[in-house]
């Protein structure tokens, strides 16, 4: 397994180089260094000298990919692409175009994102699985059709509606939780309970239907019939055997997102005033902050690959037949 992990980690390198090149090309097809400078300097009284000064201070006065004025390897090295990319591979993200240290920003903003994302994931998965297993348990009855109707209804409603309605009923009419805001520490509970609840409810419809599909497939297998024949109760069969055997597709969906949980959720964080990383990349794109965009895309790709690797490893824990060679 160690060899497999090392091999997979080595595959990461070319993928990240590719992602980095793609990000760079896409960004600079749309924005030029002059555009970035003007965006940062504002609309008023911006002279070309100020733009040139900004580019020079930030290292955007170099050619993009190839420096004709240099010799040898320096033709490649004295470019925006090289200078802005090389640090990424040692996780040195540098400073954003408005002068803030990116790593410090990420490490500060990831905690509030995690405070929302972890309970949302745990309670969401638990609720989805439980609801899906109950749908299987009550299959054929009117409770199943009612449950499926509820799922479709939950899926049909926009996520934004849950947020606005939740804030209106719970925060405003019932006055039970703050409408928005965040404080660090234990008191954060008051602020995250509503967004977590909304996150769980809004994902319940699609989540439960997805898990139901997995469990239905398992419930039709021979071992289920055997278990029932042995006299196990329906609930025991579902929660002990069906659930265990459906773990591989469940893990595929969950483990892959675990490493990137701290990246946050754009809409939830925006509406609830959670100071997380949810809007970090979007804000950077709208303010044309290439330094943040490349860092976040790089980090996102890296974590996704790590997530996939962890998923593979997790298979070996839930299914002894899986061997990673």
């Amino acid at each position: 397994m160690i060899n497999y992990i090392i091999r997979r980690l080595l595959y990461v390198l070319p993928v990240l180089v590719g992602v980095n090149i793609l990000t760079f090309v896409l960004f600079f097809v749309v924005n030029s260094p002059d555009d970035m400078a003007r965006m940062q300097l504002g609309d008023k009284h911006v002279s070309q000298a100020a733009v040139d000064n900004w580019k020079q201070q930030r290292g955007y006065d170099l050619p993009l990919l190839w420096n004709e004025q240099q010799q040898g390897l320096q033709r490649l090295e004295k470019t925006i692409f090289f200078e802005k990319s090389v640090g990424l591979f040692v996780f040195d993200f540098g400073v954003s175009d408005n002068g803030r240290d990116i790593m410090a920003d990420i490490s500060q903003r990831m905690w509030p994102s995690l405070a929302i994302a972890i309970p949302s994931l745990i309670f969401g998965v638990l609720a989805n699985i439980t609801f899906a297993l109950l749908l299987i348990f009550y299959r054929g009855s009117y409770l199943e059709s009612s449950g499926l109707f509820l799922c479709i209804a939950l899926m049909s409603i926009s996520g934004l509606f849950y947020i606005i309605a939740g804030q209106y009923f719970v925060g405003k009419l019932l006055a039970l939780t703050p409408i928005s805001g965040y404080v660090p520490g234990l008191d954060a509970f008051r602020f995250i309970v509503l967004p977590v609840f909304i996150g769980v409810v809004s994902g319940l419809g699609s989540g439960a239907r997805w898990y139901r599909t997995l469990f239905l497939e398992e419930a039709a297998k021979d071992y289920v019939r055997t278990a029932k024949a042995k006299g196990l109760s329906e609930l025991e069969v579902l929660f002990r055997h069906v659930l265990n055997n459906a773990m591989i597709p469940i893990l595929t969906g969950i483990v892959v997102i675990l490493p990137s949980l701290f990246m946050g959720s754009l809409i939830i964080e925006s509406f609830f005033g959670i100071p997380g990383l949810g809007s970090y990349t979007i804000d950077a794109i709208s303010s044309q902050d290439f330094a943040i965009v490349r860092a976040m895309v790089f980090l996102g790709s890296f974590l996704y690959i790590i997530g996939l690797l962890l998923t593979d490893i997790s298979y070996t824990f839930v299914d002894p037949r899986v061997r990673l060679d």
């Binding site: 009284h45 100020a50 928005s180």
Partner: protein, 711 residues
């Protein structure tokens, strides 16, 4: 088992009773600020910069103008806007010089004046806020035990303000590494500014390790002179009376060199603790907490110099009883909490709950808050009045206009044909309707370039744009038939180009996108279709739009301008030929050029506000109206709501440092908050009961399934 069940029932009952109290549960503030003189406000976008040399937008000024103080400020309760000393002990004394450096009399002709020297005296005994940068030991090294939680955990010190701090800040403005947005502009005015910038760039290149503060302090700028610790002078090129308005902006707030020295430590840079985020000022507040993703907290500066609430006010302010706190020492509040609130819905709901003291009015909540009487007067809805909420309105010192590119072959140029075409469009595009539909009535149609409240603006018939309006006890838009006639005279009868017999097609460049802008653009198309002109919308992104404007490739566009300072020059320069964007890279986006207008502008710009200046401005406005490089558009009206406990609110649009005048009645706020936020528990109980009822059929089916045969 029975005992356990009993215990469970008892503890559930206790939990329910303890939960069902009237204690407010939804208060988003946790510090126990109850009863304290704290102002609760919000910001929707994190500020980019808090360094006064870089900050240039209203959301940045909302914070830094409470922390940094320039030499002058706008009198809070007087309109027309009036400058008064802030850190200066009095208004500056001016001395004119000719090209040879010889002093001239105050009455010297403008053509003879090569330089103007401002001699500025500063107040005695002003101290900077407490800050670790004034501690010499901390400038050298930080204690290892410090965990970068708060700068104010470190041993802080202060020192007296000196004229050197103003000089240092002006040098910072010039230093290329600061990247001040006004560096280019100031190089045109302050003597030696541009040369100083070049010198600093070359020193930095030769010796990158040299500390910034040392580099700046060691070099002199020709136009700056320290006379003594309380006095200094600034020499500017020519005569530029508006320069004093710049001296009232945070760009010219004093900066201690110690701040640059302190924040230069790599450890602090790595932690994002920099002068750009943690200010060091002399103002009424200091920034105690800075988490721009969550909130920013200002605390009363214990070293703040003596300043008192104004004793004088204009009529409007007197009528509102805004002199009740006259003579009281400022600031009137101890703390200001700015919370990040990106979305308008939670922001509005929290305002209604009493957790924000003031609020703007978004279009979503406009009908909930504002009502119009049958004669069009603006008022508050019954619900707002019952809550004791007040409304404040003011026409902003801004202009939003539709510009014609005067370099364009079809809509541009100065021929009679082109002018008639533009006049026809001026009549057809109904800005009254635009304001009503898209601004909820929050705006006044512009009759010219100068907004109300700025010297040079004329109201009523005298200020009417007769090219598009006629007077009938109020300006009335000219009929569309007149626009059609003008269009026909311009060579486009019924929207058909006589020379080609093809329909007239015009192009509007826009960077708007999204559903809101689609409605706006459709409206605009409809306005042009009144004249049978086909309007093609050329949607583009921000970058390409800016590029088109820089290159003069746009035909028509919408643009806006917010006043830097309340002087007509700050608006009329938008049509000054030497500022043409495509030709000279200036702010004249329409690329308008008229020799007579330019000559009058040069004459007017250096004049005091006299009747003669007004006459010149009238001429300029008339010339511009006749040439019509813009559809004059509208001046937005700012509406803001404030709660009954928020005192001394006054719509002074030029004063950025208003917070120090605000007093809050904390007891009243708490009373209202309690009243408006009583928790309601019964829906929870009902939901619980419904859930239990729903479980009954589930249990019945469960029993049936469990008892059924497996196979």
């Amino acid at each position: 088992m029975a005992r356990a069940w009993k215990l469970f029932r008892l503890s559930s009952l206790l939990l329910l009773v303890s939960a069902c109290t009237d204690q407010v549960l939804n208060n988003p503030y946790t510090e126990g600020d109850s009863g304290k003189k704290t102002i609760y406000s919000s910001f929707s976008e994190r500020p980019k910069h808090l360094d006064p040399a870089k900050a240039y937008s209203s959301n940045e000024y909302a914070i830094i103008a409470q922390i940094y103080e320039p030499l002058f400020q706008y009198h809070y309760l007087k309109k027309p806007y009036q400058l008064e000393p802030l850190l200066a002990s009095d208004m500056p004394s001016l001395q004119y010089f000719d090209e040879n450096g010889m002093a001239l009399a105050d009455t010297a002709a403008e053509g003879d004046i090569a330089f103007t020297e401002y001699t500025l005296s500063i107040k005695q005994g002003v101290k900077f806020q407490p800050h670790p940068c004034f501690n010499p030991q901390l400038r050298k090294a930080l204690p290892a035990s410090w965990n970068a939680e708060s700068l104010y955990d470190l041993p802080v010190k202060t020192r007296l303000l000196s004229s050197s701090d103003f000089i240092y800040q002006i040098k910072r403005l010039a230093d290329p590494s600061t990247q001040s947005p006004v560096a280019g502009l100031m190089a045109n005015y302050i003597v030696g500014f541009g040369e100083f910038a070049k010198q600093q760039a070359s020193i930095k290149k030769l010796n990158p390790a040299l500390a910034k503060q040392q580099r700046l302090r060691d070099a002199d700028m020709l136009g700056l002179k320290k006379i003594n610790p309380q006095q200094f002078s600034i020499r500017i090129k020519g005569k530029y009376p508006q320069f004093i308005n710049w001296l009232a902006m945070p760009f010219f707030a004093p900066m201690p060199w110690e701040a640059d020295a302190f924040y230069a430590k790599p450890f602090l840079v790595k932690k994002n603790i920099s002068l750009d985020w943690f200010p060091v000022g002399t103002g009424p507040y200091l920034l105690e907490e800075n988490d721009p993703n969550r909130r920013m907290v200002l605390r009363k500066n214990p070293n703040f110099h003596l300043e008192y609430y104004p004793n004088e006010a204009d009529e409007e302010a007197m009528e509102k009883g805004l002199l009740a706190d006259a003579g009281k020492q400022l600031p009137l509040s101890d703390k200001v909490v700015f919370s990040l609130e990106k979305e308008t819905i939670p922001y509005w709901n929290k305002f209604l709950q009493g957790y924000y003291d003031v609020s703007g009015i978004s279009s979503d909540s406009f009908d909930q808050a504002v009502s119009f009487s049958s004669i069009g007067d603006v008022g508050l809805t019954e619900d707002m009045l019952q809550r004791g909420i007040g409304l404040q309105t003011a026409v902003t010192t801004s202009s939003y206009y539709l510009g014609f590119n005067m370099l364009d072959k079809v809509v541009g140029g100065y021929s009679e044909r082109a002018k008639k075409l533009r006049h026809a469009i001026s009549i057809a595009v109904d800005y009254e309707e635009y304001i009503s539909i898209f601004q909820n009535g929050r705006g006044v149609p512009a009759q010219g370039i100068i907004p109300p409240g700025i010297f040079g603006h004329l109201s009523a018939e005298a200020g009417m744009n007769s090219a598009a309006y006629h007077w009938d006890s109020a300006p009335v838009r000219r009929p569309i038939a007149e626009a059609k006639r003008l269009l026909s005279e311009a060579g486009f009868p019924n929207g058909i180009d006589k020379s080609t017999a093809k329909p007239l097609v015009l192009y509007f460049d826009s960077m708007d996108s999204g559903p809101d802008s689609k409605a706006r653009l459709n409206w605009l198309r409809k306005q042009f279709s009144k004249l049978n002109i086909q309007l093609v919308i050329r949607g583009t992104d921000y970058n390409r739009f800016q590029e088109k404007m820089r290159n003069g490739n746009a035909q028509m566009f919408m643009w806006g301008w917010n006043a830097d300072y309340p002087d007509p020059e700050n608006f009329l320069f938008l049509l000054y030929g030497k500022n043409a964007k495509a030709l000279h890279g200036g702010e004249n986006a329409a690329n308008y050029q008229n020799a007579k207008f330019d000559a009058l502008f040069e004459q007017m710009s250096s004049m005091e506000n006299t009747a003669q200046r007004q006459a010149i401005i009238n001429q300029m406005v008339d010339i511009a109206r006749a040439d019509a490089p813009w559809l004059w558009g509208f001046h937005p009206k700012a509406f803001s709501l404030y709660h009954a406990w928020y005192k001394n609110a006054y719509p002074n649009l030029m004063a950025n440092n208003k917070t120090k005048y605000i007093r809050v009645d904390a007891a009243l706020r708490e009373q209202y908050q309690q009243q408006w936020n009583k928790p309601v528990y019964w829906p929870l109980v009902v939901s619980f009961i419904v859930l239990i009822i729903m479980l009954i059929p589930a249990y019945i089916i469960y029993r049936r399934v469990e008892r059924a045969k497996a196979l």
